[in-house]
C-alpha cells in the first residue's frame, strides 16, 4: 500500500483521537460515560475481529477475557488495596496466560466447534467465578470504592482504544496479518506453504484476549460494582460480534464504524424500549448474517465507494 494512504489513515485516526480528547469537559456525566462505553465496545469489537475477522475462528465466548480483566481489577483494588492502573496490567497478563492455556486445545477445533467450545469456556469461567467464593466473592459480587472517576476512566479507555486500533492496523498490514488471512482462507494450504498455523492462531488468539481484559478492568473501576452475571454476560459477546460484523469483519475501519453507529442507536432505543430492543437485536443479527455477511465495508466495496486496499 502506498505511503500516502498510511498517512491519510493515520490522519483520520488523529482527528478521531483529538476530537475525543477535547470533548470531555464539554459533556455531562451521562454523555461522557456513553462515549466511554462506545470506546470500550470499539476495543472489544476490534479484538474480536483479530481472531474472528482476520483468522476466521469465530469466537462465541470472548466476554470471558473481559470478565477476567474486570475481576482482576476489582479483586486487587478491593482486597489488596492496589492503585487501579497497575491492576490493568495484571489483568492483561492473567488473560494472556489463560488465553494460551485455553487456546492450545480449543484452537484445534474448526468452525462451529470452536465457536461452541468458546461459548462453553465462557460459561465455565462464569460458573467458576460464581462458585469460588473465597477468591471472587461468589455470586454476591464485588463493590469498588466509590470515587469520581469519569475523567480518568475516559482517558484510560481512550489510550486502550488507541493502542487497539494501532495494533489492529498493524495486524491488518503486516506479514503476520497476511498469514492469518491465509489461515482463514485455507488452513491446510497455508500449512503446506510453511506457515506454522498453530503458532499464528495462538498468537492471534492471545492478542485478541489482552485488550478486552484491559477494557474490562477500566469498566469495573467505572461501574463500581461487578458480579459474575454481568461480567460474563453473553450479551457482551453478542454486541462485540454484531458491531464487528455490521461494520465489516476483517477490516479495521469496519468494527469502529459499526460500533459508533450501532452502540449509539442501541443506547437510544434501550432507554425507550428496554425489552423490545433485545428482540430487535436478535432480528438484526439474523438479517445481517443472512443478507449482509460482509458488513457495511463489504457493501461499500461492492458499490465502489471504497477501494479494497483502503479498508484493510
Amino acid at each position: 500500500m502506498a505511503q500516502n494512504e498510511h498517512l491519510r489513515n493515520f490522519g483520520m485516526l488523529a482527528i478521531l483521537i483529538i476530537v475525543l480528547s477535547v470533548l470531555p469537559p464539554n459533556l455531562n456525566l451521562y454523555q461522557r460515560s456513553v462515549i466511554m462505553f462506545t470506546m470500550m465496545y470499539v476495543v472489544l469489537a476490534l479484538s474480536w475481529n483479530i481472531i474472528s475477522g482476520y483468522t476466521g475462528y469465530v469466537s462465541f465466548g470472548h466476554v470471558m477475557f473481559y470478565g477476567i480483566g474486570s475481576y482482576a481489577t476489582a479483586i486487587l483494588v478491593v482486597d489488596y488495596g492496589w492503585h487501579w492502573i497497575p491492576t490493568l496490567f495484571v489483568g492483561v497478563l492473567v488473560s494472556f496466560v489463560i488465553s494460551l492455556c485455553i487456546g492450545f486445545p480449543v484452537l484445534r477445533l474448526k468452525g462451529p466447534y470452536f465457536a461452541i467450545a468458546m461459548l462453553g469456556a465462557a460459561e465455565g469461567t462464569r460458573v467458576v467465578a460464581t462458585v469460588w467464593d473465597s477468591f471472587t466473592h461468589g455470586g454476591e459480587g464485588i463493590g469498588l470504592p466509590n470515587v469520581e472517576n469519569s475523567f480518568e476512566t475516559y482517558f484510560a479507555m481512550l489510550v486502550v482504544m488507541l493502542v487497539t486500533i494501532v495494533v489492529s492496523y498493524w495486524v491488518g498490514h503486516s506479514r503476520f496479518g497476511i498469514r492469518l488471512n491465509a489461515i482463514r482462507e485455507d488452513e491446510i494450504a497455508a500449512e503446506s506453504l510453511g506457515i506454522n498455523s498453530t503458532f499464528y492462531k495462538l498468537s492471534a488468539f492471545a492478542l485478541s484476549a489482552i485488550f478486552p481484559a484491559a477494557a474490562g478492568g477500566i469498566q469495573a473501576y467505572k461501574v463500581l460494582y461487578i458480579d459474575p452475571e454481568t461480567e460474563f454476560f453473553i450479551l457482551v459477546t453478542i454486541y462485540m460480534k454484531l458491531f464487528a460484523m455490521f461494520g465489516g469483519k476483517g477490516t479495521v475501519i469496519g468494527p469502529i464504524l459499526g460500533t459508533f453507529i450501532l452502540y449509539i442507536v442501541q443506547e437510544i432505543t434501550w432507554v425507550k424500549f428496554p425489552t423490545a430492543h433485545l428482540i430487535a437485536f436478535g432480528v438484526f443479527i439474523v438479517l445481517v448474517a443472512r443478507f449482509m455477511p460482509r458488513g457495511l465495508m463489504g457493501f461499500a466495496i461492492d458499490k465502489g465507494w471504497a477501494r479494497k486496499g483502503m479498508v484493510h
Binding site: P112, A117, V131, F281, G282, V286, R290
Partner: protein, 329 residues
C-alpha cells in the same frame, strides 16, 4: 496407519469416559461425601435411576439436533430455545385451557412442526451447504429473538407445572418420582417411533438418503428442499416434545434454553454427530454423569454445567466422531 489412529482414539475415548465417571467418586471420597453403607448405596441407586430417566428427556431434544446436523450439516443453536418454547406452550395449554400436559402434545407438536418448517423455509434453505458459520449466526440471532419475545410475554419468573409429583417406591429405600417415569416412557416412545419412521416410511427413507448424499438424492427425484423443511419441522417437534417433558419435571424460565442447547450439543458430540441411536445413548450417559456429580460433589449443581462443556470439548479433541458417528464429517 489411519486404522491404527482410529483404534487408538477409540481406546482414548473409553479411557476418558471411565475417568469422567470416576472423578465424582474420587472427589466424593476426598470430601467425605461417600460412605459405602447400605443407605448410601440405596441413594446411589436412586440417583443413577433418576439419571437414566432424565437421560430419556435429554435424548429427546438431542435427536432433533442430530437430525438437523445429519441432514443439513447445520448446527441449530436455537434448538434449546425451541425446547424452552415447548415448555411454555405446554404451560399455556395447562393453565389457560386446562389440558393435560401430555395430551397437549397433540396440539403443540403440529404447531412446532409448522414453526420448524417456517424457520427452514425463510432462513435456512438459502444457506445450506454454504459457509458453516452463517447458519450458526442466523440460528443464534433467532434464539436471542425467541428468548426475548418469551421474556416480554411471560417475564423471567420461573414457571412449573404441578404434575404427578409423588414418588414411586421401588423398595423401601429406592424411590423414583412418577413424573420422571412418565416422561421417560414418553421420550422412549416418541424417539423410537421417529426412529422407525426414518427406517420404514418413504419420507423417512428420503430423509436418510438426503443425509447420505444430497446430490445423489436429488438425482433420484427427491426434492431435497422439501426434505430439509420436513427434517427441520420434525426436529422442532422433537424439541417441543422435549420441552413438554421438561416442563412437568423442572422449573423453567426464558434463559434456560441456552443450557439445553449446550447439553444437546454435548450429547450429539458424544454420541456421534448425525447418528440417531448415538444421540439416545449419549443422552443417557450425560444425564447419569450429571446426577453423579450433583450427588457426590459439594456445590455440584453449579458444576453440572461444566460437565457438559468438558465432555464436549474433550470428546471433540480425542475423537471427533464420538461413540458411533460416521467417519467423514
Amino acid at each position: 496407519m489411519q486404522e491404527r489412529a482410529e483404534i487408538r482414539s477409540k481406546y482414548w475415548l473409553a479411557l476418558f469416559l471411565v475417568a469422567a465417571y470416576t472423578v465424582p467418586f474420587a472427589v466424593g471420597i476426598y470430601t467425605e461425601n461417600v460412605f459405602f453403607d447400605l443407605q448410601w448405596l440405596a441413594d446411589l441407586t436412586t440417583v443413577i435411576l433418576n439419571g437414566i430417566m432424565q437421560g430419556g428427556v435429554y435424548a429427546m431434544f438431542a435427536v432433533g439436533l442430530t437430525l438437523i446436523f445429519g441432514v443439513m450439516r447445520i448446527i441449530n443453536v436455537a434448538h434449546g430455545e425451541l425446547v424452552m418454547l415447548g415448555a411454555y406452550l405446554t404451560w399455556m395449554f395447562f393453565f389457560y385451557v386446562g389440558i393435560d400436559p401430555l395430551l397437549a402434545l397433540f396440539i403443540t407438536l403440529p404447531i412446532a412442526f409448522c414453526i420448524g418448517l417456517l424457520i427452514q423455509k425463510l432462513l435456512l434453505n438459502a444457506v445450506v451447504g454454504g459457509p458453516e458459520l452463517t447458519p450458526l449466526l442466523i440460528t443464534f440471532g433467532l434464539g436471542l429473538t425467541i428468548i426475548h419475545i418469551v421474556e416480554a410475554i411471560f417475564t423471567t419468573d420461573y414457571r412449573t407445572i404441578p404434575y404427578a409429583p409423588d414418588a414411586l417406591q421401588l423398595t423401601e429405600t429406592i424411590a423414583v418420582s412418577k413424573s420422571k417415569i412418565i416422561s421417560f416412557v414418553m421420550a422412549a416412545f416418541i424417539s423410537l417411533s421417529v426412529f422407525f419412521f426414518l427406517k420404514v416410511h418413504r419420507i423417512g427413507k428420503a430423509i436418510r438418503a438426503t443425509a447420505q448424499n444430497a446430490d445423489v438424492a436429488m438425482v433420484c427425484g427427491i426434492n431435497i428442499f422439501h426434505i430439509y423443511m420436513i427434517t427441520s419441522g420434525l426436529a422442532a417437534a422433537l424439541a417441543v416434545a422435549g420441552g413438554a417433558l421438561v416442563s412437568i419435571q423442572f422449573g423453567f424460565n426464558p434463559e434456560t434454553g441456552v443450557l439445553y442447547t449446550l447439553q444437546a450439543f454435548a450429547i450429539i458430540v458424544l454420541g456421534g454427530r448425525g447418528h440417531y441411536i448415538g444421540a439416545l445413548i449419549g443422552g443417557v450417559m450425560l444425564a447419569v454423569i450429571e446426577s453423579l456429580i450433583s450427588f457426590m460433589i459439594p456445590n455440584g449443581t453449579a458444576m453440572v454445567e461444566i460437565a457438559s462443556y468438558g465432555m464436549m470439548v474433550f470428546v471433540l479433541l480425542i475423537r471427533p466422531r464420538g461413540l458411533m458417528g460416521p467417519k467423514e464429517n
